[in-house]
Every structure is written in structure tokens, then in C-alpha cells.
């Protein structure tokens, strides 16, 4: 049993084999609104209970995304001004006006129109590896569907998909030495992304298409078009949010199905379990580990006095294993039902891409498990060193080549 003094959620080293679930379990039971000191910051309250995460999320007027941004680390005024261009760092009413620009394109119904297209993508991706018998899962499978899909929705030509992918890696990987050695490189990657967005935007201004870039160009908030900065930021947010998270959950799902072969077999025996399995992967290994809010008033949660201006951090992996919200929460169970997890958040900032993510995840796992049913992790899993995204950088897998399996079956 750790003492509170040992718990340090600020240090990404403690996340380099995945989130520290023993700490979250202890915190939920002993100190669910836990004050975490910071070496280079004012400290923050840590939320690990399901109902509390929901409460904080549902009250943007009390817990602001704008005031300090939504990342744990403190930002200089200039950087804060910069991140406030992203709608993820806005509060109502401003947030709603920005979100409304694109929200109609992300509803479950609208996303379901992409089903055949996503299926064709997934099929091609599996085609490329199916007879190799092994591959590097992150670069060859997990990253491919979300990259292609969000880039297409944005109107990024296929030749530029890799560039957008590389830039978004550098933006997310700010704590991991493999991707980035400093915040400055993140700044550079952002600048390169903005330059790309502007170039694409210039092309679309001349000849608009039915893509998100064209929609952003023609959009207006309160009668005003988006400024260049606002357009750039929106493009960046969609590119990153669309890339990093779905890739992460795909890789985490592959890892979990490998570690729980009985669960993988349950799905191959009964493919109707793909939907529930995807929800369980999301619950068990949410891509987003943490988001931050800043209190706008003195607020009490479970007897703790949160002061106006205090930082409050929500820990999604913690809330998703709350014993009071889920039966046997540490059990990975692909047939779990109900499964009302908060991997996508809830309320004002509920993940805009949730339906898209779900479609991609169901499709890629269906394609993989149908054609390569014995696919499993082969060797070490290389995690992203981050307390923000539960990423996997590299993970080799092996499987019986498809043609060989077919020959054996016939």
C-alpha cells in the first residue's frame, strides 16, 4: 500500500509501462480528491472517481477549460493565448460556436455513411500484412486507418498523409525523448502543421471541396470568418485528435487481446462481440489519461475545499475502473454489459470523434480477427512516456499468414 507521499502523478516515468493503476485504486478508496504537489507548478487536485469525473466534466462554468488550458503543465501567457485558439481549450458559449462549425459532420448517422469506405481501407491495410506472418503493428496497422480517415475528411491528399502523421507525433510526444526533446520542437512541429494547413487552405479557397478544410474556410462565428490563427488551430486539433487517439486504442486493444487469448477467442467464436469488445478496450485502456480544468469558484467535492483558481485533473483510466461504477473493474471482459465508460469524456467537450473512432476500431478489429485470428504480440511493447496519452510507440506482432491458413483449412 503506497503512502500518499510516494504517489507522483506528475512524473511521466511512472506511466512508462502504462498508467499506475495500483495508485488509482488506492486513491479511489482512500483519497479520491487527492492533492498532488508539483515540483514545477502550484499543485493540483486529482480526480479518480467515476461520478466526480462526470461532475467536473458537466460543469464547465465551475471547471474551466479556458482559464489554464487542458494540459497539466502550467503555460506561459503567450502559450496560453496560443492554445486557447483550439476549441478544446474554450468554455461555453464560445466553445459551442466553434464546435458547431464541424459537429454535423461527426454525428453517428453521418459517420455511418463512411462505413464502406473505412471497411475498404481496413481491408487494404490487412492485405498489405496478411502474408508476411509478422509486422510492426503501430506503423503498419494501428496508425493507418485513423491517419487515412481524418486526412481524407480534412481533404489532405494521400501523398501528404505521412507528413501530417509525423507532425502530429511530434506534437503529442512532448515528454518522450524518441519523439521530441523539448517543448520547442513541439512548437516547431505546430508551426510546420500550420504552414501546411495554410497551403491546403489556399488551394481550397480557390476550389472548395466537400471536406473539413473547405468547411472551416467558409465557416463563421458570430458573423465573422475564422482568423488565420483560428483556422490553423482547428486544422491542427482535428489532425491530432483524429490521429493519435484512435491509433493508441487500436494498439492497446491488440495488446489486450494478446494478453487475454480467451477473450480474443470469444470474439473469433462470436464476431457479434466486436462492438462490446471495442467498448471494453476503451474502458480498460483509454487513449487519454488526463485532462485538466481550472476552478472558477470555491467548490467542494467530497469534503475537499477546492479554491477558485486551483488546478483539477481528471484521470480517465482511474475513473474507468471505479469499483462503484463497474463490477469487477480490473477484469478485462469483452462481453461486459453495460459498459458506460468515460474514455470519450462526457458533457460539453465529449469527444467529437467518438462515432468515427468506434467505427474505425470495430472495423479494423473485425478485419484483423476474421483474417488473422491468431495474431499476437511478439516481444516487448514500447510505451510512450507520457501522463497525457497512453500511447504505444512500437509493438511487433506475429500470425499465421492468411494464405497458409486458408490452405490448411481447405
Amino acid at each position: 500500500m503506497p503512502l500518499p507521499a510516494d504517489i507522483d502523478l506528475t512524473n511521466p516515468d511512472h506511466f512508462d509501462q502504462g498508467p499506475p493503476h495500483e495508485w488509482f485504486t488506492w486513491l479511489r478508496a482512500n483519497d479520491p480528491v487527492y492533492w498532488q504537489d508539483e515540483e514545477d507548478g502550484p499543485g493540483f487536485w486529482s480526480i479518480t472517481k467515476y461520478q466526480d469525473l462526470k461532475h467536473v466534466s458537466r460543469h464547465p462554468e465551475l471547471f474551466s477549460s479556458w482559464r489554464g488550458g487542458t494540459n497539466i503543465f502550467e503555460l506561459e501567457e503567450d502559450d496560453l493565448t496560443g492554445v486557447r485558439l483550439l476549441m478544446i481549450n474554450m468554455d461555453p458559449p464560445r466553445h459551442a460556436k466553434y464546435r458547431r462549425i464541424v459537429s454535423k459532420g461527426f454525428t453517428p448517422k453521418r459517420i455511418s455513411l463512411l462505413e464502406d469506405h473505412v471497411r475498404a481501407l481496413a481491408r487494404r491495410i490487412v492485405d498489405r500484412i496478411a502474408d508476411k506472418g509478422e509486422c510492426e503493428f503501430v506503423s503498419e496497422v494501428a496508425s493507418q486507418v485513423p491517419m487515412a480517415t481524418i486526412c481524407e475528411m480534412l481533404g489532405v491528399p494521400e501523398a501528404d498523409h505521412q507528413l501530417v502523421y509525423d507532425l502530429s507525433n511530434r506534437l503529442i510526444g512532448f515528454d518522450d525523448p524518441d519523439f521530441q526533446t523539448s517543448m520547442d520542437d513541439g512548437g516547431e512541429a505546430a508551426a510546420e502543421m500550420y504552414a501546411y494547413a495554410e497551403q491546403l487552405g489556399a488551394e481550397r479557397s480557390k476550389a472548395p471541396r466537400d471536406d473539413l478544410t473547405s468547411i472551416l474556410l467558409s465557416a463563421d462565428v458570430d458573423g465573422e470568418k475564422l482568423t488565420q490563427d483560428e483556422f490553423d488551430a482547428f486544422f491542427l486539433l482535428l489532425a491530432i485528435a483524429g490521429n493519435e487517439t484512435t491509433r493508441t486504442v487500436t494498439a492497446q486493444g491488440m495488446r489486450l487481446l494478446s494478453e487475454h487469448p480467451d477473450q480474443r477467442r470469444a470474439i473469433t467464436d462470436d464476431p457479434s462481440l466486436i462492438g462490446p469488445a471495442v467498448e471494453e478496450i476503451l474502458r480498460y485502456a483509454p487513449a487519454v489519461i488526463s485532462f485538466r480544468r481550472t476552478a472558477m469558484a470555491d467548490v467542494e467535492i467530497r469534503g475537499k475545499q477546492i479554491r477558485n483558481g486551483d488546478k483539477v485533473v481528471m484521470w480517465y483510466p482511474g475513473a474507468n475502473r471505479d469499483e462503484e461504477a463497474f463490477d469487477d473493474p480490473q477484469k478485462f471482459d469483452v462481453s461486459r454489459n453495460p459498459n458506460d465508460h468515460h474514455a470519450f469524456g462526457i458533457g460539453e467537450h465529449f469527444c467529437l470523434g467518438a462515432s468515427l473512432a468506434r467505427l474505425q476500431l470495430r472495423t479494423i478489429f473485425d478485419e484483423l480477427l476474421t483474417r488473422l485470428p491468431d495474431i499476437e504480440v511478439d516481444g516487448e511493447v514500447k510505451y510512450l512516456r507520457s501522463n497525457f496519452i497512453d500511447g504505444i510507440k512500437e509493438m511487433r506482432v506475429r500470425f499465421t499468414p492468411e494464405t497458409q491458413r486458408r490452405k490448411a483449412a481447405s
Binding site: S57, A96, T107, P108, K109, D340, I346, E348, A354, S355
Partner: protein, 64 residues
């Protein structure tokens, strides 16, 4: 009791329709239609589910 909808928050996720189709209907244009605003005890638990499950927390139960 009556259903209160924040249409600015609604994004046609249709969890409400799954939970309580007697009251909530999301049409082909992604518009939420509330079939009956007021309801009684018989539908309360379904409406409560709808309120709980809405990913955008766009629903509430109000007094008549």
C-alpha cells in the same frame, strides 16, 4: 414531470432514443424530436437512463 432538452448541446447521439424511444426520436436529419414533453411514473426510469446516458448531458427532468 417533463423532459428538458438543451438543443445547443444535443448532437444526435441518440442514446436517449435507445433508452426511451417512447419520448425521444432522432430523425434522418439528425434532429431530436420529443414526442411527448410531459410524462409520468411509468416512464421515469427510462427517462432517467436517457438523462444519464446522453454523452453531451443535454437532458434534464423538470417540473410541469
Amino acid at each position: 414531470m417533463k423532459v428538458v432538452v438543451d438543443y445547443d448541446l444535443c448532437e444526435a447521439n441518440a442514446r436517449c432514443m435507445q433508452a426511451c424511444p417512447e419520448i425521444f426520436y432522432v430523425d434522418d436529419d439528425d434532429n431530436l424530436q420529443v414526442k411527448q414533453e410531459t410524462f409520468d411514473e411509468a416512464l421515469l426510469s427510462k427517462v432517467q437512463e436517457a438523462v444519464r446516458l446522453c454523452p453531451r448531458q443535454a437532458l434534464a427532468i423538470g417540473d410541469d
